[in-house]
């Protein structure tokens, strides 16, 4: 037993920390770029789905197709299939972003659909009754409130995206799993290395969770938490200045 334990060389993890962290960074980059694009496309898909007939059909079909495709299949299809179809050879990074965007824009469309549906009709009516252009009512009244509702779910999607980058090892993207495989092939320490890989994903998930919790607090009304308070302090100062000016003006008259 003791000989077995002695065979686990945990110092490998520290020794190769820069390769492993670099792998994690690549995974986060692909996922982050894909998240931004997916959110934009997902919002458009949600609007299309809630909209009129031909466009809503397209959205329904898109959402149901791409929610069902696994990331591994998606990236192979993009890298080896779609690249032939459009005649562009994607880099592995680009292929990863496109593969994730195809899948997650479908999920985020559903998240936004339910979030937009949760905004009471009176909000839109109040905006319109004030004579605000319908597009601006959407941008300034509906969308901020829907995004606040969608944020926790979008955070979960981001964690899922980071994990899904592990399948991109098949196209040779140097993410966490690929780096681990490469190290394993020279050191033969699979337990140590894959434990480290798993730990990296968990740490990433924690970090993302923290990030989105902070965003949630910022969007809370009133904003809560240390970061939010710092951000809103400036706004409050502006308000107080306006009020002071007004109070002094009215006391003069």
């Amino acid at each position: 037993m003791s000989t077995l334990v002695a065979n686990y060389d945990w110092s490998l993890v520290w020794e190769h920390r820069s390769e492993l962290l670099h792998g994690l960074l690549t995974a986060l980059e692909v996922a982050a770029v894909a998240l931004v694009i997916s959110t934009a496309i997902g919002l458009l898909l949600a609007l299309a789905r809630m909209g009129k007939a031909p466009l809503s059909w397209f959205a329904v079909i898109y959402i149901n197709v791409f929610r069902g495709v696994p990331a591994l299949v998606s990236v192979i299809w993009v890298y080896f299939g779609l690249s032939l179809l459009v005649g562009i050879s994607f880099t592995v990074f680009q292929a990863g972003v496109i593969a994730l965007t195809l899948l997650y824009s479908a999920f985020i469309a559903e998240i936004y659909r339910s979030a937009l549906g949760a905004i009471p009709r009176g909000q839109r009516e109040a905006g319109l009754a004030l004579g605000i252009h319908p597009v601006r009512v959407f941008a300034r009244v509906i969308l901020p409130q829907a995004t606040k509702i969608a944020i926790p779910n979008i955070g979960s999607m981001f964690i899922g995206m980071v994990k899904d980058t592990s399948t991109f090892t098949v196209i040779g993207l140097l993410e966490v799993v690929r780096v681990t495989q490469n190290l394993n092939s020279t050191t033969f320490q699979p337990f140590v290395l894959y434990t480290a890989a798993a730990a990296l994903y968990v740490v990433a998930a924690f970090g993302i969770d923290l990030l989105f919790r902070t965003i949630e607090k910022l969007l809370a009304t009133p904003p809560s938490g240390r970061v939010a308070r710092a951000v809103s302090r400036r706004r409050r100062k502006r308000l107080e200045a306006v009020m002071l000016r007004l109070e002094s003006a009215s006391s003069r008259t």
Partner: protein, 273 residues
């Protein structure tokens, strides 16, 4: 784009018990004619006519489902009538247009008509000040500083300047409704619409909202008020409209509540008061 307002030469109607309207007063600002409206197969307005004059306070009351709110909402085209026309400030809207009538732009119309809702409908993601400033910035193209100062002045008018930095969720119902009134007033509307402004409030908070409305009424604002507060209606109302089952069952000048003849109206008033 802006529609010129009809010039007003007449003095504002006084608060004294009014004589009957002269048959054709020239200062009509809102005229609804033959308004019909259906939701699905259910027709809720069966051809309603209503005129509102400059400075007049029209009170619409009646049982739930009688079409009061829908009628009010056709004035600023939150509901598009299926038949009939809305003429407001000399501009016409709706399918019942006379030939040659000017077809107006609903967004322009709404900039001259303020509305206060039963559920306040403040924007929960903005502070009280932000709620008022948003419309000023987008519809009057004010800069941020100018809009915030104008908004602060509007909040001051309803006695809520102290609460400017608070979010709607931190305010009482009565305070929220007063912010909503300030938000609508900040745009200098020519007509104010109130859709059961006190129905969602705790009884003890009704007074502060009615107080703000009373000040507004005394300033000569043209108002159309849907309400169940008949004592308040008796106090500020120049013209009373009783609606029942999608039609105006009975209407009359100040004092109408005490001398109406329709048994349905009397029954309703007795039940509410």
């Amino acid at each position: 784009m802006r529609t010129p307002l009809p010039t007003m030469n007449e003095p504002l109607p006084t608060a004294s018990p009014a004589a009957e309207h002269p048959p054709a007063r020239p200062d009509v600002v809102v005229r609804l004619e033959g308004i019909r409206k259906s939701f699905g197969k259910n027709e809720v307005l069966h051809g309603v006519d209503l005129s509102v004059h400059q400075g007049e306070h029209v009170v619409i009351f009646g049982p739930s489902g009688s079409g009061k709110s829908t009628l009010l909402r056709t004035i600023n085209l939150l509901e598009e009538p299926d038949e009939g026309s809305v003429r407001i400030f000399g501009v016409e809207y709706g399918p019942g247009l006379e030939r040659g009538g000017t077809r107006g732009n609903a967004i322009e119309l709404r900039r001259q008509v303020g509305m206060v809702f039963q559920q306040f409908n403040l924007f929960p993601h903005l502070t009280a000040l932000g709620n008022v400033a948003l419309a000023l910035r987008t519809t009057k193209r004010m800069g941020r500083n100018e809009a915030e100062e104008r908004a602060a002045r509007a909040l001051q008018q309803v006695g809520l300047l102290r609460w400017a930095a608070h979010f709607p969720g931190e305010l009482s119902g009565g305070q929220q409704q007063r912010v909503a009134i300030a938000r609508a007033l900040s745009l200098d509307p020519k007509v104010m619409l109130f859709d059961e402004p006190t129905s969602a409030l705790d009884p003890e908070l009704v007074g502060e909202v009615l107080g703000a409305m009373r000040v507004l009424a005394e300033s000569g604002m043209t108002m159309v008020v849907v309400t169940h507060e008949l004592n308040f209606a008796r106090e500020i109302g120049d013209f009373m409209v009783f609606m029942d089952e999608g039609l105006i069952a009975e209407s009359g000048q100040r004092g109408f509540l005490d001398r109406c003849e329709n048994p349905r109206t009397r029954q309703f008033i007795a039940a509410v008061l």
